[in-house]
Symmetry: C3
Subunit: 248 residues, 3 copies
C-alpha cells in the first residue's frame, strides 16, 4: 500500500476538495510524510489552485514514499460530500483504486478509479507590492456587490486603503476599507496598485472561505492576484488568478 | 444636490421597493420634505402600487424642493438587496445618477442611472362598502389555498364574516373567518359584497406583508380591491387591484 | 354521509399520503371502523404501497359501513400540504365529493372530486428469510451513498451483518452494519441472502421515514423487499418492491 491516512476532521479536506472542484475537472493529488497536497491549473490556464493538508491535521499518516495520483474531481467530490463532520475518514490506495472508508455509526466504504493526469504544475514565483489580510465576509460583500454591475472587478490598494470596485453600463459599485478599520487585519502597500479580475473566477475562489474567516489577498499593478485561506498548522488553500487587461 | 436622505432602518424602503418591483418594471420616485413616495400602475394597467416612507422614518431628510426621478426597478432592487438590516443607507442624486451609500463595517457605494418615465399616476378616489383588518398570515393562507384550485379568487364580506374562496374544475377551496375571531382585527360591511380577483396579482401584493403583520383589505361588489400594509408613523404600502368580471 | 373522521394529528395521514403519492398517480382509499387504509400498485407494477391510519389515531371516526373511494393523489396531496401540524382535519364524503375541513385559527374547507379506480390490490403473501430493524438514517445514508455510483443497489444480509452496496463503472460504495451495533435494532437472518433493487424506487419509499425513525426491512435471495415504518397503535406505511435480476 503506497499510503494510508486517517482524518478525524474530514471537513478540512472536504472543503478544500469542494472549493478546488469548482475550478478543476481533474487533478493530481500528492501524499507524502508532509501531508496531502494538490497543485493544478484550471483548464483555461487562467487560475492556479493549490491546497495542502498538513501532517498536524492527521490522526495517522503512513506514507513511506511520495505518491502522486490523478483523480476526476467530480468523483472525489461526490464521495467527500457523503462524509459527515463527526465521522472519521480513512483514505488509501488499493489495486489501482482510491479507497475511502468512513467510520461513524455505520462503516461505509467507497472506491473510485485513478486516472492518468499528465500536467505538472509549479506555483509561480511572484512578488506582490501590496498585501492585505481581510475578513472574508467583506471580500464576499465586495464580490457580490460587483456582480450586480459587471463581470469584472477592480482590486485596488494604496498605503491607507483597499477597494473593490466595478463599473458597467452607467452603473458603479465600490467597497472601500481603510487601514485600521475592523475588517482589515493588516494592510501593507508600497504604492497605489490596481488590477482587474474576472468575477466568475473570484466567486469560485471565495467559496474556500469555508475553511477560514480571514483571507490573505496579494495584488500588484496589472498583475496576478493571490488569495489564500489558512487554518494554522493544519491546512491552507490558495489561488493565483491572472489579471484581465482592461482599458479602465 | 436635489435631495439627500439617511435611513437607519433601510428594511422599510427595501421591502417596499422589492414588493413593488414584482409589479413594476420602472417607476417614478418622489422625494420631498414628507419623505419618499411612489405611485405607479403596472404595465397591464390592472394594479396600482403606491408606497410612502414618512419623514419620521429618516435620520436625516434634506429635500428643499420636491424631486421626481425615474428608475428601473430591477436596478434599484439589485442594490437594495445588498443593504443589510444593520447598515445605514444614504441616498442622493449626483450628476444625473442616483447615488446609494451603505455604511456598516465597510463603506460601500453604488450609482445607478436615472431614466425618463413619463406616466403620471393618481390614486383613484374609491368608496368601499366593506373594510376588513386581518392578520396577514390568514390572507396568505387563503391565497395559497386558492392557488391549488384556480387562477382566480373571490373575496366576499358580509356584516359578520369574511371569506376567500375559489372554485374550478370540480374542486373548491374556502377560508372563512367570523367577526370577533382571532385573525380579524376589525370588520365593517354594510351589506354582502363579492368580487373576483387574479391570484397572480394577489400573490405579488401579499409579499408586502413583510412590513406589517396586519393587512387592511377594502372591497365592494364587482369593484376594485384596496390592500394596505402600514408601519405606524413610518411607512405604508398599498395596492389597488381591478376586479375580474366572472359569471360565478 | 358514508363516513366522517376527525384527526387532531393530521401529520400522520399527511406524511403517508405524500410518501404514497411519489409512487401512485391515483388510489383507492378505504374508510371503516378500523381507520383509513390504502393498498395500491404503482403504474409500472413494480412496487406496492399500503398504509393504515388506525382507529386509535382519530379523535372521531364515524364509519358505520366500509366505504371505498378513488382519488387523484396529486389532488389529495395539494390539499393535505395546506394542513398545518397544529390544525384539526375533518374528512367526509358529500355529494360525490371528498370534503376536507381544516380548523385552526381560521376555518378552511376544500372539496375534491372522487374518481373511478378499478384495480383491486391485495398484499402478497411473502416469506422472508431475513428481517432487519434499522435506524432510518442509516438506510438513507446507504441509499444516498449508492446513488453516486449506480441506479441499482444490493441489499445483503447474513446472520451477523447487513450491507447496502452498489457498483458501477469502476466505482463502488458499501455501507455495512454488524448485528449489535447502534443502528441495528434487530437482525434475524437464517442464511446469506442478497437482492438487487432500483434506487429510484427506494428513494421514494425512504421518504416515509418521516413518520418513524426506525425502518423494518425484510429481504430474501433474488426476492422482493418489504420496508415498513410504524407509529405504534396509530399508523403504519409499508412498501413491497420487486427485485431487479442482475448478473452481479
Amino acid at each position: 500500500m503506497a499510503f494510508k491516512f486517517i482524518l478525524d476532521e474530514p471537513d478540512l479536506l472536504k472543503d478544500c476538495v469542494i472549493a478546488s472542484s469548482s475550478l478543476l475537472n481533474e487533478a493530481v493529488l500528492t501524499v507524502d510524510s508532509n501531508g496531502v497536497s494538490l497543485v493544478s491549473m484550471d483548464s483555461a490556464n487562467v487560475a492556479l489552485v493549490e491546497f495542502n493538508i498538513l501532517a498536524g491535521a492527521f490522526r495517522e499518516l503512513e506514507a513511506s514514499e511520495k505518491t502522486e495520483f490523478g483523480v476526476n474531481m467530480a468523483d472525489l467530490v461526490s464521495v467527500m460530500r457523503r462524509v459527515k463532520s463527526t465521522e472519521t475518514l480513512e483514505m488509501s490506495m488499493d489495486d489501482g483504486m482510491l479507497s475511502l472508508k468512513i467510520s461513524g455509526n455505520a462503516k461505509r466504504a467507497f472506491q473510485i478509479p485513478l486516472i492518468d493526469v499528465k500536467k505538472e504544475t509549479k506555483i509561480p514565483q511572484l512578488e506582490f507590492p501590496a498585501s492585505i489580510e481581510i475578513k472574508a465576509e467583506f471580500l464576499e460583500d465586495g464580490i457580490s456587490d460587483a456582480e450586480i454591475i459587471s463581470d469584472a472587478v477592480i482590486f485596488e490598494a494604496d498605503p491607507d486603503s483597499f477597494k473593490i470596485r466595478s463599473r458597467g453600463d452607467n452603473r458603479t459599485a465600490e467597497l472601500q476599507m481603510q487601514k485600521g478599520e475592523d475588517g482589515i487585519v493588516s494592510l501593507e502597500a508600497k504604492d497605489h496598485v490596481k488590477s482587474t479580475f474576472s468575477l466568475d473566477y473570484l466567486k469560485k475562489m471565495i467559496k474556500a472561505s469555508k475553511i477560514s474567516d480571514v483571507a490573505s489577498v496579494r495584488i500588484g499593478n496589472d498583475y496576478p492576484l493571490r488569495m489564500t485561506f489558512t487554518v494554522l498548522d493544519k491546512a491552507h488553500i490558495g489561488f493565483v488568478l491572472a489579471p484581465r487587461i482592461e482599458n479602465d
